[in-house]
């Protein structure tokens, strides 16, 4: 790897789109903020009412528009404000991952995690972990495609 390439790789800051459920993960992110816990600014948070409302189309669109990662945060299983939205989100994620895998697209760029309103630290840790993981994966190759 040449010096120039190395520098380019080090300069890469992943862009992550995060869909956080209103009742748990968004409140968790809020807690991380109010508790002044530091986490990488790579995630762009979009608040949704429930992880179960995140259609696979949202995730696909973010990926195809060139996002390096997509994060979906929901309440822990059993804690959903709408009883079972997160269980449905989980099934939808299983399907999406399966489709991506069959088509040879990187499912590692799509994360689903359970973060409660009291888990500000877990949110910050998860963001750190995801940013590092995506940084290692490198930029989303889809971003370079112009004929989608």
């Amino acid at each position: 790897m040449s010096e120039e390439q190395k520098e380019k790789k080090e300069a890469f800051e992943p862009k992550i789109v995060g869909f956080l459920c209103n009742w748990c993960s968004y409140a968790g992110a809020d807690l991380a903020g109010t508790s002044r816990i530091q986490y990488p600014p790579n995630v762009r948070i979009i608040r949704v009412m429930c992880s179960g409302s995140v259609d696979s189309m949202y995730i696909l669109r973010a990926l195809l528009e060139g996002a390096d990662g997509v994060f979906v945060g929901g309440c822990h299983p059993g804690d959903c404000h709408y009883i079972d939205g997160n269980y449905k989100a989980r099934r939808r994620m299983v399907l999406l991952e399966n489709v991506l895998e069959t088509l040879g697209l990187e499912k590692e760029r799509v994360w689903l995690r359970w973060i409660s309103a009291s888990e500000g630290q877990k949110f910050a840790d998860t963001m750190k972990e995801m940013t590092e993981r995506i940084r290692k994966l490198g930029p989303n190759p889809i971003a370079k495609q112009w004929n989608l």
Partner: protein, 374 residues
């Protein structure tokens, strides 16, 4: 269930099935029949809803499937169930599709008698319409079926070549071709109690000798098709990665005909018909600036992947999407491998059993626990 036969006269299988359907319709037990019949030009055969037995010239096994019969059943029954019994002659893939539509509350099978017919496969609409042996593609196909040659193979649609199961299940009455000596007999089998009581009234011939090869032939056909599917899926596994995918969908012009033809895509308002993707000019400009350039109309890969995520678990692999594509994108090359893998993950068999719930509306607390807890 009861296995009856009808005799084939003058080597005319289609004509004999027509006679049987005439008999069924004139018995008064069903009010009307929805069955494929040639148009006056004889170029193509379309489903017709027919109540006058005298005008019935059914081309049940004409090797063409212009549109999804399941969608027609949905149109006819979703607002209100049929007040009187209707017999509907369908191929196996369409029976699977109609069962999925019932689960999605888009069709109602009350007073519907499903008459399934063994499917020797269908040609693309244009191939059928321009077939060299103009009037006789059906006998040609049946001949290759009986002699077990693959002559018709090259004309078949991809979906039919690797058909999931050409022998109908879940039908009230089954018209059987596989394993029968088609110069002599066609099988008429009752699949349910409704079918049985209808057939009992018709007093058809019972002939144990004529059906003795049926079971074996059905098993053999299913095995052969399965083998072919597996090879097909393995072969198409090469379409992997974003570059191959964009290449695959290169000819897509966003006409969305595939969605229109799909029996499962029933949404009244598709996201892709909405104004979600109409944006202010500055957003287009900003994207051009970030990327350098991008193709328009855009979002064709998003459309296919999005549609796929919405309908793939119910995909019955009828291949009508591929037939509808004006630019001949071989959609089955992608949809069959994805459908097989996704349906396997949820151990779901679309169109097999009405009691089997669509995976996206049910869940178990203790499943897929590895997702979300890494």
């Amino acid at each position: 269930m009861t296995q009856n036969v009808i005799n084939v006269k003058d080597n005319d299988v289609a004509g004999s099935i027509n006679e049987f359907l005439k008999h069924l319709l004139s018995s008064g037990k069903i009010q009307a029949l929805l069955v494929q019949q040639s148009t006056p030009s004889k170029k193509v055969a379309f489903p017709v809803l027919i109540s006058d037995p005298k005008r019935l010239h059914a081309r049940v096994i004409a090797p063409v499937l212009p549109t999804a019969t399941a969608s027609i059943v949905s149109k006819m029954t979703k607002i209100q169930a049929s007040p009187k019994p209707i017999g509907i002659v369908m191929r196996a893939c369409q029976i699977r599709a109609v069962l999925e539509l019932v689960k999605l509350n888009q069709a109602n099978l009350t007073n519907i008698v499903l008459i399934g017919v063994d499917c020797p496969g269908t040609f693309p609409l244009n191939t059928y319409a321009n077939f060299p042996e103009k009037t006789r593609p059906t006998p040609f196909l049946l001949e290759t079926l009986t002699k077990k040659t693959d002559e018709a193979e090259k004309y078949l649609r991809t979906a039919c070549k690797v058909c999931k199961d050409p022998i109908p299940e879940n039908a009230d009455i089954i018209i059987g071709l596989y394993g029968m000596d088609l110069e002599k007999n066609v099988l008429i089998q009752a699949g349910t109690q409704t079918g049985k009581s209808l057939l009992d009234d018709l007093k058809l011939e019972e002939n144990q000798d004529a059906v003795k090869h049926r079971e074996h032939a059905v098993k053999e056909t299913r095995e052969a098709k399965n083998k072919r599917r597996e090879a097909f899926i393995k072969d198409k596994g090469a379409i992997k990665g974003i570059e191959k995918l964009t290449e695959f969908f290169d000819k897509c012009v966003n006409c969305h005909n595939c969605r229109q033809a799909c029996p499962i895509c029933y949404c009244k308002e598709c996201l892709f018909d909405s104004s979600v993707f109409d944006q202010e000019a500055y957003k287009f400009l900003r994207k051009a600036e970030t990327k350098g350039l991008f193709k328009l109309p855009n979002d064709s890969v998003l459309f296919h992947l999005g549609r796929m995520n919405h309908m793939i678990l119910s995909c019955v692999q009828c291949g009508l999407c591929e037939q509808a594509c004006p630019n001949e994108i071989p959609l089955m090359d992608v949809f069959i491998p994805v459908a097989e893998s996704a349906q396997k993950t949820f151990a779901y068999h679309p169109g097999k059993d009405l009691k089997e719930k669509i995976p996206m509306i049910v869940y178990r607390e203790d499943e897929f626990t590895e997702v979300g807890e890494k």
